[in-house]
């Protein structure tokens, strides 16, 4: 339902379940499309392979941040206890690192959790409160029980008529054009 003067964002195809969505994703990937996404109410097993996607880098990001947190906090405890404010307690050495394990561990976990959460949001380009897909009334069902594939007009192989035909041929129950108002 493209309005005059509005730009097409892409097409949105609806599928009847997880099985059809997964096999359609495989075929779109094989057909060489790049800018598409499969929307579902919950993550679907095997979808990453079907779409030809690699593992998320978030694990490395969290690992690196956690290591920085560990070393940074260990250094802080060292600097405070040995350099800046040395306290002799029960005759223990100034850098009694065993006793510093609990705060060092806590900070390692804390920075890792921040990286996991905010790193995920950054990789997902969230928060993004407006998106052309939200212009579609039927897209609202993605968070209920609907399964969709969106294919963007920015894809080099995009051609509205051909893509619509193609999506119908691989099992879409309904295809609509989404506009970027």
């Amino acid at each position: 339902m493209a309005k005059i003067g509005s730009r097409a964002y892409g097409v949105l195809a609806e599928f009847s379940g997880t099985g059809p969505l997964l096999s359609a994703a495989k075929k779109i990937h094989e057909a060489g499309y790049k800018k598409y996404d499969c929307h579902s109410p919950f993550p679907i097993h095997g979808m990453d392979q079907a779409m030809g996607m690699k593992r998320s880098p978030i694990g490395y990001m969290v690992g690196f941040t956690g290591a920085c947190g560990l070393l940074g906090m260990l250094y802080l405890t060292y600097w405070v206890s040995v350099v800046e404010y040395p306290l002799v307690i029960s005759g223990k050495p100034l850098f009694s690192w065993q006793a510093y394990v609990p705060p060092v561990f806590a900070i390692t976990i804390l920075v890792s959790a921040f990286m996991a959460t905010f790193g995920m949001l950054v990789l997902n380009k969230l928060p993004r409160f407006n998106h052309p897909l939200f212009n579609s009334e039927s897209f609202k069902r993605f968070s209920d029980g609907g399964f969709f594939i969106s294919l963007e007009a920015g894809d080099p192989k995009y051609d509205e008529v051909k893509v619509t035909e193609f999506l119908k041929s691989i099992g879409a129950t309904k295809v609509e054009v989404v506009t970027d108002e």
């Binding site: 009847s16 379940g17 997880t18 099985g19 059809p20 969505l21 997964l22 096999s23 994703a25 495989k26 996404d37 929307h39 579902s40 109410p41 919950f42 993550p43 679907i44 097993h45 095997g46 979808m47 990453d48 079907a50 779409m51 998320s56 978030i58 694990g59 405070v80 206890s81 404010y85 306290l87 307690i89 223990k92 009694s96 006793a99 609990p102 705060p103 561990f105 806590a106 976990i109 804390l110 890792s112 959790a113 921040f114 996991a116 959460t117 790193g119 995920m120 997902n124 969230l126 928060p127 993004r128 409160f129 407006n130 998106h131 609202k140 069902r141 968070s143 209920d144 029980g145 969106s150």
Partner: protein, 458 residues
């Protein structure tokens, strides 16, 4: 509202053969329907108690900790009893959301959301007590290594400092874990919203979630990582809480059994609290097909297991006291069981060791009324466990220094008020947020598996 609640088979994870839509409907209709009268009544009671808590805290700041029943041998009293009690309650939430997630226990999806909510609210209640107990709560930030004009830094060897790091981290991580889990479900509420204010609020908090697989792949790994890092965290938090006691050179406290014993007790008490809350929620909000009897039975089994671990720790403490050959250590335990606080000790033993034994019987661990009453007894018993540990200090080394600790009206008021705060937050959560993780429950339905749905051609 939903038709899927009509019939149920107690052996399935989710009963009544629901569709994706019926799960959405039966969970989302709770925050969307009119406020039930029962909710209004419960909310006004608990909010009044919470208000009372803040008044009492104000009075405490004005008057000082002298308003409590503390005396010389018992310097910690109810403040630390309540602190350890509330932190412990929180631990079951993390256990359910993180450890059972890593162990692929799919029955957790029915209860994980409000177990996580319970964790956050319990930790809020817990954090109040050490904060007000320091006497000068307005300088509580001195426990953190923040540069200041006095040039003073904290001592990183102190378990009380470890506490502020561990519990603070625990609160923030639990909150992030909970919020990340909520994002897809908030998007569901956003997409169903009819009024403008709901569209704006749920729209803001769902961050524009679109459920694309390009988002899910980062999301799933993040969730796994948060579960992975929460698991050692939850075990460390209560271990660190126990070192508040264990590093003290006091008979009855200075023992290495404390960390595992405290962790087991924390999980035990937390499961009891999850049980109490989920029995109420499934009754009030008609969620019997999602929080099934099978889920409740498994929780009872965990309570039976952790209850026996706690029982083992109680007996092992006695054995070690005898085996140590230390008369002060031996006296501490004989005094616990037969001294002036014997009444509290035997309440603890009956509630924590004897009551869970009923769960050996399949009939009893499937009986809703029995498990509800048992869960309340366990909550009481676990509060008394911490009470016994803290106040039996009233008889330490020198008989001349012995005293008897009794709480004042202010101590009792703070405990009641903290329950008020907990239930206020919990009721707000039940009213405005999805109390069951819809996207996760949908994911465990048979039709969610692309290879079993019968329409797969790939």
């Amino acid at each position: 509202m939903s038709s899927a609640t009509e019939h149920h088979d107690p052996n399935c994870l989710v009963t009544g053969n629901p569709t994706f839509e019926s799960i959405t409907e039966s969970v989302s209709c709770i925050p969307e329907s009119r406020t039930p009268l029962a909710w209004k009544i419960m909310f006004s009671i608990s909010a009044s108690l919470a208000l009372g808590l803040f008044c009492l805290i104000g009075y405490l700041f004005w008057e000082g900790v002298g308003v409590w029943g503390l005396n010389n041998p018992v310097g910690w009293g109810w403040a630390i009893v309540n602190f350890v009690f509330w932190v412990g309650i929180g631990h079951a939430g993390t256990l359910i959301s993180a450890i059972l997630f890593l162990l692929r226990q799919r029955w957790r999806t029915a209860i994980n959301r409000f177990a996580e909510g319970m964790t956050i609210f319990a930790v809020i209640c817990a954090l109040i007590f050490p904060t007000i107990h320091v006497g000068r709560a307005w300088v509580i930030h001195w426990t953190l290594p923040i540069p200041n004009q006095m040039g003073v830094w904290p001592n990183f060897r102190s378990p009380l400092l470890w506490d502020s790091f561990a519990v603070g981290t625990y609160f923030i991580c639990s909150f992030l874990f909970w919020y990340v889990g909520l994002i897809p479900d908030l998007a569901t509420l956003r997409d169903r919203a009819k009024t403008r204010i709901r569209k704006i609020i749920y729209g803001l908090f769902s961050l524009g979630w679109r459920g694309g697989n390009r988002q899910w792949r980062h999301y799933e790994l993040t969730y796994l990582i948060l579960a992975g890092i929460s698991t050692p965290l939850v075990l460390s938090v209560h271990s660190i809480v126990s070192t508040d006691f264990a590093t003290a050179q006091v008979p009855g406290w200075h023992t290495t059994i404390f960390p595992p014993y405290f962790v087991a007790g924390a999980i035990f008490s937390g499961f009891a609290m999850v049980m109490t809350l989920s029995l109420i929620a499934r009754k009030v909000f008609n969620l019997t097909h999602i929080i099934t009897k099978k889920v409740l039975e498994r929780m009872n089994m965990i309570m039976l297991l952790t209850g026996m671990m706690v029982g083992y720790a109680y007996s092992m403490e006695f054995f070690i006291a005898w085996y140590s050959g230390n008369i002060y250590e031996q006296f501490a335990f004989v005094n616990r069981a037969f001294g002036p606080y014997a009444w509290a000790y035997w309440i603890m033993i009956s509630c924590n060791v004897l009551v869970p034994q009923i769960f050996w019987f399949k009939k009893l661990r499937n009986h809703l009324v029995v498990m509800f009453i048992a869960s309340i007894f366990i909550n009481i018993g676990m509060w008394f466990e911490r009470f016994v540990i803290v106040v039996t200090l009233a008889r330490d080394f020198l008989p001349a220094a012995w005293d008897y600790y009794s709480p004042t009206w202010h101590d009792i008021g703070l405990l009641i008020g903290s329950f008020g705060l907990f239930f206020t937050l919990f009721l707000l959560f039940m009213r405005f947020l999805p109390i069951v993780a819809m996207s996760e429950v949908k994911g465990i339905l048979p039709q969610a598996d692309p290879h079993k749905s019968g329409e797969h051609h790939g």
